[in-house]
Subunit: 179 residues, 2 copies
Amino acid sequence: MLAGLLCGKGTCVTRMRVLGVDPGTRVMGYGIIDSECDEPALVACGILAMPASVPIAKRLDYLYRELIKIIRLYKPNAVAVEQPFVAKNVQSALAIGRAQATALLAASSRKLPAFEYTPAQIKQRVANYGASSKEQIQEMVRLQLRLCQAPEPHDAADALACAICHIYETRLNDRLSQQ
Amino acid sequence: MLAGLLCGKGTCVTRMRVLGVDPGTRVMGYGIIDSECDEPALVACGILAMPASVPIAKRLDYLYRELIKIIRLYKPNAVAVEQPFVAKNVQSALAIGRAQATALLAASSRKLPAFEYTPAQIKQRVANYGASSKEQIQEMVRLQLRLCQAPEPHDAADALACAICHIYETRLNDRLSQQ
């Protein structure tokens, strides 16, 4: 899954491309990040959206097919999906669960490993603080990807944050396993 | 999707085969019902189960593939999925949402129409009372399918009840549209 290489500083790091997903059945954010020599770089980001008036089976089918197109196009090594432990209400939790399953099934259909991260884990890895606000995360994503402005809409920024979180988590685990 | 025919009583009814699904990521119930001349008949039922220790992405992939095998084997005309509006907690709602999405995506991958019914709708159609107990529903499923004993486990009985609900709902809509 990952290709090891030596960066300029002489430390062994990993080269990888990650698809991050912010799951929602009305708006699903996605973001592709490359990581090489400790520098995450933006490849692409955006949203997949469908009106709530479209039947849920049709919306999920659309999201599944579009995610597979994105995976085919950008060829990530892994998929990272945000997994909230809280939701406004049961209906919102059901919708998030459906969107998560769609992303996980799209990953497995292309034989890609999928990982889940809670919002607190993502905030901790991306902004070093588990209770950061949405705006702080957007700004940290902008800084880490060296962008002129924060990625919009916030669903796309959240998906990028999830991908960055996976890169940091993998890198940390790689370093720990080398010790 | 449906083939119209005249039954012995001279009323136009519909012939169909329905896959009912009781969604859960640890245990998913399924049931296939045939309907012809006002008589629902059991074709098959069972459960798909995986330990909670298996990562969720792997569990969903297993459920998706097994549902597609069931659809290929029994060739239903439609899929009916239970859609609760309440859940014990957010974690339970997320899990149900994931399982529902898996069933809806399996249906759409085989170009089958999918329908969702709330527990109250299912209870009303199967037992004529929206607040029936689980045991009452199991008994009504047994009576309507003319079985010696109630289908076990209750996940399979719930899936059969969902399929029966879809048959009654479709039949009612057909009759209303003929008036």
